[in-house]
């Protein structure tokens, strides 16, 4: 709960920090989870390639990387608020 006289920069900054850490957490769970499920202890004969990448790298790292770049853009230009740093 924000204090009554709290500086207006703090609430958005806290919200953005939590959102960024949540995105990191989701990314970690998905990427590590997917890669561990499909990239470790697997029969190499079942390995396929997507655009030249091993399938598990493509879906576990390359695609999320692209998605994260888009999300970062949306975060920066649509979600994050500007604030006066001087006062």
């Amino acid at each position: 709960m924000a204090a009554p006289n709290e500086h207006p920069l703090l609430a958005p900054a806290r919200r953005e920090a939590v959102a960024a850490l949540l995105i990191w957490l989701l990314t970690t769970v998905y990427c590590v989870g997917y890669c561990c499920l499909y990239g470790y202890g697997r029969d190499p004969k079942t390995l396929t390639f997507v655009l030249g990448f091993p399938d598990w790298i493509f879906w576990g790292i390359v695609v999320p990387w692209g998605v994260c770049t888009v999300i970062s853009g949306l975060f920066a230009f649509c979600f994050m608020k500007d604030a006066d740093l001087e006062n």
Partner: protein, 589 residues
């Protein structure tokens, strides 16, 4: 069937020319920076660029890239395969976490406290000089290790940039003893007339080219940083970042088609090694598991937290012009990382089929590949282009050293000289102290590298992660928690540092015992710590893996625990102090 191409041309004058251009450009940027910071407050201008960093400079300099990243990372891909994409994968969120978690608040606090350094900020925020002093000492300790390693890397690159000196690489195997050079050139060892030379060789055991490189590199970097301060450092950093992305784009566009496409390159790599090169935990001939699931999880902590809690990164964020710049930086850096890391992985997988015989010389992968893919360029332009590609990691090393010299000097001047020794120092005295401390830092780095210890690169990783484990809790607490106290900040810093260092020390002891099984103490150590689990990269400075994860996770937990318990167990800070940093200032009468 694709034929492996192993006939790589050796570097000629193009590489040396490219390095000299880089050096000249850096000095020029230093003089430009000096003009830009003139007529401003000296400390704010020299150490923080008057808090005027724009989006490009902030985005492309406030990260953890260095020459080691550009040369060491490709070596890992070449050695272990596609799994290294997972190892570096968390860089997809580093731009977001790097600026959005504490960036805005840190920039505000640095203005409210009028702080030039991170220790200065923490000292004023917690109203306790012990916090500032401990932070300053730890930062100087961490950055010194990293900086010494970068001096060695810079000197090594200059040594090998001479035509005919072999392939340019950062490998520590390249520290050729001078005796070998003498034998190669047919010199006889006449003991009677060469006593002084032998004495010199004992003290300076490396090739003379290394020492010339060390001196030229040190004078250049300390020189332009001294001229232009913080702005010189970030502008050079920006310059090398741009060069790096151009180099990576060139390499990927030339190397992947040369290998017959990405899928063909992967299949050729599998044929040359085993299917492990396309699977987890990675390829290894020594039976090691490079990236187990536990270590993969760890890497998603290491890069993210080392990214926003490292002192060098925090200083850049403090210098941001405004929050709009930070927002733009998030996007710019996201795109930049996309263009660097995945293409680098692709390039080095392609190198597996183009340069199949590198073996233990995997550090040479980028230099050799750049010479190979440009060898058919007309009019010897290929040599110059490859020189420019190779100059990018050199520039990265210069930029890193420049930043470290600056942060260490700012600690000495602002946190020690101006706060403890001479609180009433005039601007002239501060300028003199800055010059003396920067020259001293450069001299110490040169002396430390006259006979450099091996495995400095491992210490770089250690000090980066230790920095994150030490500062993450105190910085987050300083930004967002009203109840945080000086005791909490101190226990957070010490808790993170000591736990991380203790776990790493156990790893060293375990590795020593494994390497010296006949030693009396070895059996006792192995009995307590167990045998080498054979996970992670090989090397004497491997950490000890509790529950199979990197020590940074335990260090972070200790830092958070210490910070919370220390704060709650101590009296709250004075309400006026908390209000100053958390509440709206009352309108002046």
């Amino acid at each position: 069937m694709l034929l492996a191409v192993t006939e790589v041309p050796t570097p000629g004058y193009g590489v040396l020319a490219a390095l000299l251009i880089f050096i000249a450009a850096s000095v020029w940027l230093g003089t430009l920076a000096q003009k830009a910071m003139e007529k401003q407050d000296f400390m704010q201008g020299f150490f923080l660029g008057n808090r005027g960093l724009g989006a490009w400079t902030l985005a492309l300099t406030a990260t953890v890239q260095s020459g080691g990243t550009f040369m060491g990372f490709p070596s890992l891909v070449y050695s272990f395969g596609w799994i290294v994409a997972v190892w570096i994968g968390s860089y997809m969120v580093v731009p977001l976490t790097g600026f959005a978690v504490v960036g805005k608040r840190l920039a505000q606090l640095s203005r409210q406290t009028n702080a030039v350094t991170v220790p200065d900020l923490l000292r004023v925020r917690f109203d306790d000089s012990r916090v500032g002093l401990l932070a300053s000492i730890l930062i100087m300790l961490f950055l010194s290790f990293t900086m010494f390693a970068q001096f060695k890397a810079g000197a090594t690159i200059m040594q090998h940039a001479w035509p005919g000196s072999g392939i340019l690489a950062l490998s520590e195997d390249y520290d050729t003893p001078i005796a070998k050079d003498a034998t190669a050139t047919g010199e006889s060892v006449e003991t009677t007339s060469r006593t002084w030379k032998q004495a010199l060789r004992e003290r300076l055991p490396l090739s003379p080219k290394y020492y010339i490189g060390l001196v030229v590199f040190s004078i250049t970097v300390v020189g332009y940083t001294l001229i232009g301060g913080f702005l010189a450092s970030v502008w050079t950093d920006l310059f090398q970042s741009v060069m790096m992305v151009i180099g990576v784009m060139l390499l990927v566009c030339l190397a992947v088609p040369m290998a017959g496409g990405m899928e063909q390159a992967s299949r050729a790599a599998i044929a040359a090694t085993s299917s492990d090169i396309a699977m987890g935990p990675g390829y290894s001939t020594a039976g090691r598991e490079f990236l187990t699931p536990g270590l993969a999880l760890s890497m998603f902590f290491v890069w993210v937290f080392a990214g926003f809690a490292s002192p060098a990164s925090m200083v850049r964020v403090m210098a941001a012009q405004n929050t709009e710049v930070m927002r733009k930086s998030i996007f710019l850096l996201s795109v930049y990382n996309c263009l660097i890391y995945i293409p680098l992985v692709m390039t080095c997988i392609a190198a597996r089929s183009l340069l199949p015989d590198l073996g233990k010389r995997s550090d040479e992968v980028i230099p050799q590949l750049s010479l190979l893919v440009t060898r058919d360029f007309p009019y010897h332009t290929g040599e110059f282009v490859s020189g420019l590609i190779l100059a990018a990691p050199f520039g990265a090393i210069m930029a890193s050293v420049s930043c470290f010299v600056l942060v260490i000097a700012s600690g000495l001047v602002e946190d020690i000289y101006a706060k403890l020794i001479n609180p009433n120092a005039t601007e002239a005295q501060l300028r003199r102290a800055t010059t003396v401390s920067m020259v001293a830092v450069g001299l110490i780095a040169v002396l430390a590298n006259l006979n450099p210890p091996q495995y400095l690169q491992a210490l770089v990783v250690l000090s980066g992660s230790a920095g994150a484990a030490t500062f993450i809790a105190p910085v987050i607490m300083a930004c967002y928690w009203r109840r945080a106290t000086a005791t909490g900040a101190l226990s957070g810093m010490l808790g993170g540092f000591l736990v991380y260092f203790a776990i790493y020390s156990c790893g060293w002891a375990q590795n020593w015992a494994t390497a010296n099984p006949s030693a009396e103490l070895a059996n006792t150590i192995i009995g307590i710590l167990g045998k080498d689990p054979m996970i992670g990269a090989a090397g004497l400075f491997r950490p000890y893996y509790i529950l199979g994860v990197d020590p940074i996770i335990w260090g972070l937990l200790a830092s958070i625990f210490g910070g919370i318990v220390g704060s709650l167990a101590s009296p709250p800070l004075a309400p006026e102090l908390v209000k100053r940093f958390f509440d709206v200032r009352p309108a002046s009468a």
